[in-house]
Amino acid sequence: MLRDITLGQYYPADSVIHKLDPRVKLFATLIYIISLFCFKGIAALLAATAFLFAVIKTSKVPFKFMVKGLKAIMVLMLITALFNLFLTPGEPIVQLWIFKITAEGAQNAVLMAIRLTYLILGTSIMTLTTTPNQLTDGLEKSLMPLSKIGIPVHAIAMMMSIALRFIPILIEETDKIMKAQMARGADFESGNLIHKVKNMVPLLVPLFVSAFRRADDLAMAMEARCYNGGEGRTKMKPLKYVALDHKAYAIIFAYFIVILLCRTFLPWPM
């Protein structure tokens, strides 16, 4: 049952988006999120929609894969929409007992739902088209300036990629310990919540012990292979911008300017 958990749901395909440098994708996602929360007017909304669907189309990831991510935040979206719907002050159009719906409220609710949907779709394009390793590489390189003020960027990136490598191993180990404990009569299924949590102890203790032992072994293996931090290290797969990446940067900037222009000149009807 634990094997079903998938992390970083990368969808392998041969598309332009897949080939982009992870830094471009990280930056573009950031710009897209900013644009979602500062657009105004129907023209900008159309621009954001067109941009999103154009990118989804070029990424060659099936649309139903994207929608999967939306299910998880359905509840959050519903709550946000309801709050906006009922709690925005203004001229009421419908009034039921103490609940009143205002025109502004209705508009805000719809907009918020659209924004959240686009936000999830936009970020899932990034995670679906970038392998976890590329993502950590991209983060390491983009955040490198922070190492000047004493933040251990390389160490953090190294920890992230090691964590990604060990997730499946630890899941397998959990499965094994669970079965071993069940064979000796441990019960992970029945009882109320508190009971269930208590029953987890014989699972977690050995898991932690073995995780620490693994960490110890791994540290020694890394040392034996001359690892001593980020200094003087070369890269087997260094990130390098190519023409494609420059074009992508140009497109995302053009998109952002369109959104800003719409905000200034066509703010109707919001």
């Binding site: 390793n133 990629s161 490598r165 693994r214 292979r225 001359c226 690892y227 001593n228 003087g232 070369t234």
Partner: protein, 284 residues
């Protein structure tokens, strides 16, 4: 001077309580002398707790000697500035295949060592390809290590060490967690590297069968080197080996029992073929 030379090497594990007072001292290595010539295939035998792993970790400068001295390729391991060069000269493969693979893709893991020692990108690719080829794992270069068998993972680990182009590789019980097939794969890879690339191999193990093809064998017990010699010399002393808690290969044992029961079979039979020859000779 040999590639690895130990002189009166001592290592003590000192256990301290919370105040830092010495609780107990355990001598893992007790005045060890060792001299390994370049290009040899050396086996170090010993049962659990004989100090063989502690010795291995000294050769890679992961542990520092309490007393005595150790030179790897002429460099004194106790000198701080020699630690990285020593690790570059003597690579190490550990017991657990899962806990020594760092990256999520085979080729990236092999590239980890060269990355650490600052090899230029083009050369890393070249070395990765070459070392994966030398252990026969080139076709798995884009795979995830989680999908490989134990023997394959261990070969990837060996390739990872090879990519740093060491003069010597220490294999610390590399087959202890593998099935018989995986063991064969790993040993084959180690012998291949020894013969084709001239890498000095130090194989640490407690499986007798793995020692048969070595050039020279050291037997350790309680921190001492108790026996040394060629495999034939070692295995002709069945009784002494037993005293140190070790068994001999089944064929050698059978030959020994046959000799004791009066058959004229030479000492130190190592392989099935030798025994068959000896018996055929008696039968005429």
């Amino acid at each position: 001077m040999g590639i690895i030379k130990a002189k009166q090497l001592v290592h003590e594990y000192i256990r301290r309580d919370e105040e830092g007072n010495v609780e107990s001292i355990q001598t893992a290595l007790d005045h060890i002398d060792l001299d390994v010539q370049p290009g040899q295939f050396i086996a170090i035998l010993g049962h659990n707790g004989s100090g063989k792993s502690t010795l291995a970790k000294h050769i890679n400068a992961l542990l520092a000697p309490t007393e005595g001295s150790l030179w790897v390729d002429g460099k004194d391991v106790t000198q701080e500035e020699n630690i990285l060069p020593v690790r570059k000269t003597a690579g190490m493969v550990f017991q657990n295949p899962d806990n020594q693979i760092i990256a999520s893709v085979v080729e990236e893991d092999v590239g980890f060592g060269p990355e650490n020692i600052g090899v230029p990108t083009d050369e890393i690719w070249q070395r990765v390809e070459e070392s994966l080829k030398s252990v026969g794992m080139l076709q798995y270069r884009h795979h995830s290590p989680n999908k490989l068998s134990g023997g394959q993972k261990q070969r990837v680990a060996i390739a990872g060490v090879m990519a740093m182009e060491p003069k010597c590789i220490v294999l610390d019980e590399p087959t202890a967690m593998l099935d018989p097939n995986g063991r064969k794969e790993v040993l084959h890879a180690a012998h291949e590297l020894n013969q084709k690339k001239g890498v000095t191999i130090l194989l640490i193990t407690h499986y007798m069968e793995e020692v048969v093809d070595a050039d020279y064998v050291y037997v350790m017990d309680k921190g001492h080197v108790v026996m040394q010699g060629t495999p034939r010399e070692i295995f002709s002393q069945v009784g002494t080996l037993k005293e140190h808690g070790l068994d001999v290969p089944q064929i050698t044992l059978l030959a020994d029992l046959l000799r004791q029961s009066g058959l004229d079979i030479p000492l130190g039979v190592l392989t099935r073929e030798e025994l068959v020859d000896a018996i055929m000779k008696i039968a005429g």
